[in-house]
Assembly symmetry: C4
């Protein structure tokens, strides 16, 4: 077994212009967006990626069948040809991040990708009403269109960097002359955040010029808001009660 | 020295249908079962596995002789031809789990193995009266026979995955077209658990259609129950005494 | 991608006698000195170093453009030809320190370097009024000139060793017959320390026989002293107030 | 640079029968014995070992010169030809222990070694009046002569294993048909222990049939006993004083 094994399930002549990465990360924001798009657009799996840099683990599916931890590439053959990278894991080691990202770029190159969108969350440590979409690019010329689509390049805190696959896809992608745009939805960092995912999806949709039905994502966001409201109410009642004891 | 070194002690034409893994793990359940079967069936050692992924350590035997940490393959030449994988260690690193499991599968392939049984424990955090045998397969077609033999595919908790050699033997084994069945005995996770091993052995015996004398395992289970009962009685007396002080 | 990738931006016939290392470290002393010299002497970038031993990270520049974590070599084509090694990171692993240092030495050899100055800080755990410059050499014959230039070889504490690139540049450099001098500015270890950097620059200037304008470094040192004085005053007021409460 | 680099300083036709390992370890017992013998027997350095598995570090000698962390082989050309392995470090990783030990055995093989003595300490957690020398062998036939020389194969605690170079020299040495004897001096594990080293040296001297002047080691042991006695007296006075306050 090689350190990374890519198994293609598609014919050789597949071509995609856009590569969208949504691997696990803060608030699962990127993962939510990419998985939502795959479902809505009916994208199909074209490759599986196994690696010694993933945990030595199988998952047990509901039917009792096991499935190896892996990452996957999906392909959407619509008006826009899009490849998606989603999966169970990012690398467990520094070295693995580099090795895996190079493999992701090999796949992207193989199918003719010109532009990469790396999706993620940006943790701010508190709940956010209208999540902004912090952005970064690997060619300055890309900045205007990102701003036009609603992404921001301002930052409250000094955002020092982007860690993991999202960052390296832009950095190492630049060396292969691929355009790279990173969209990071503002998120608390404490919860899986479909609301932040909505913001990212909204910017991304404008950037790729495609409408994606957001109903399911909206529902998940509403559910999550109800969960949070319920938790906050419980907290409030508890603290009222404590005050009563004190008073 | 290679990363993994397999030293065969047998002739080339050895053939086994079944490969049973019982490496160290939760409650030592798999280890207890495999070692018990090796003893009862009079299996003989056919290979030694040394690896840089094992701790840099020798054990001192009772006679003062040292023995390198290793894993071993045993072979039972009875009505059913069975290979057993037991040993001192699982890998100390993620990568090692992958590399070692590939070597285990190389051995299994070399001797013609068609089906792998990966044995282990499943920790539930409390003592269990009648340990269930949680099961997983790497081909859905295997599920009915496991259920018939008494294994269960229900789960109280969401069992997320199987970590280490047991999981990878199923996952990587599937890619070599080997059938894989994982049997995990319910166990507290706090003690070496021969009672859980009894449950696993009972399901396994039915699956492989072989009666294995379980007297020695029963004795160990009875001993362990007496140890636990004694510990619980001591706890009870201690807490009675504390109550007396308070009262 | 190789473990370490060096990308030269210069012609092949570049020649430098001196190699000055100022990578991140205690008090950022070496980094401050090297970056100050690069700015004052108008040195130009001649190589970029990327490595899997650096964190898997990109930095976001103020304009929103990303930049991969890297180290860089600068070249000063003045009366003295000097190469500078600065950058974002030291290695994240023991092995990486060795591999990267060998690459740094390859670069130094390629451009004809005869002598290496490794700059750093030496943490003493308290603020220092007149930072000494603790020194070490990789050939005893170099000691007199270092002492003449104001470096000291005395030590209050037993300084056991020099860890990371600075130490290995001297140790591995000796095996390539390169002279190596390590200058470590006394520093608290708690703050970025331009004052300690002044001391190191002063010794280094005499050693290489070059005047470097230190105005900017002096300004930073003055600023830092004001910050420290302000912090100390705040502390004093706070403790006075506490005394008043008690009294 | 290779992972491990051995630099020989001797001619090719050097021959030694015995290889004595005294690398750093518990109580520095093995190191004390080997360094004492090297000094007393006037052994000379014949090889230096550098490795990426050692910390990335140089030591600063008293004269200000740096020295890379390394291990060294010494050779004693007396009535008995003996090679000694001493040094600054054991490996920092599991893998490194295996790789380095194979290199040590390569050296031993190159100079014709038939028998290895691996020296170390065995920590018991309390001060010991007459340290025993716990022993292990890699061929049962070696046991009688070790017992005759005063080594013991009894154990109070279950000694599970020998970790690091000492253990692997016996384990991996057996596979090269080299005899291996491990002598572990009983020691508290809290201090550098010349007294335990005396015990080990005494057994070793009988085994190799050589008298080694132990005066210097005795002096160090006496000094250490005075240090301990002083510490114990200080402790006693302190606790007396505390009792006085209470009383």
């Amino acid at each position: 077994m090689d350190d990374v094994m890519v198994q293609f399930l598609c014919e050789d002549n597949l071509r995609a212009d856009i590569f969208i990465e949504g691997l696990p990360g803060i608030g699962q924001v990127g993962k939510l967006v990419a998985e939502h798009m795959i479902r809505e657009l009916g994208a199909e799996k074209i490759a599986e990626i196994h690696s010694m840099y993933f945990p030595p683990q199988v998952f047990i599916e509901n039917d009792g069948n096991v499935r190896m931890a892996n990452n996957e590439v999906y392909f959407c053959d619509g008006p826009r040809k899009i490849a998606f990278l989603i999966g169970d894991h990012q690398s467990g080691s520094n070295r693995g991040h580099y090795v895996l990202t190079e493999k992701y770029l090999d796949i992207a190159e193989r199918i003719g990708v010109k532009r990469i969108y790396a999706l993620g969350g940006f943790g701010v440590g508190h709940l956010v009403d209208v999540p902004r979409v912090f952005s970064a690019v690997n060619q300055l010329a890309l900045r205007p269109q990102v701003e036009e689509a609603g992404g921001t390049f301002e930052r409250e805190d000094p955002v020092n960097g982007i860690i993991g696959a999202a960052g390296l896809l832009l950095g190492l992608g630049a060396r292969r002359n691929m355009e790279g745009i990173c969209l990071m939805g503002e998120t608390s960092g404490y919860i899986v955040d479909p609301k932040s995912a909505q913001s990212v999806l909204s910017v991304l949709s404008r950037l790729i010029g495609m409408d994606v039905d957001t109903r399911l994502l909206n529902e998940r966001a509403t559910e999550m808001e109800q969960v949070i409201a319920h938790l906050q109410e419980t907290e409030r009642l508890k603290s009222d009660e404590e005050l009563r004891y004190i008073g």
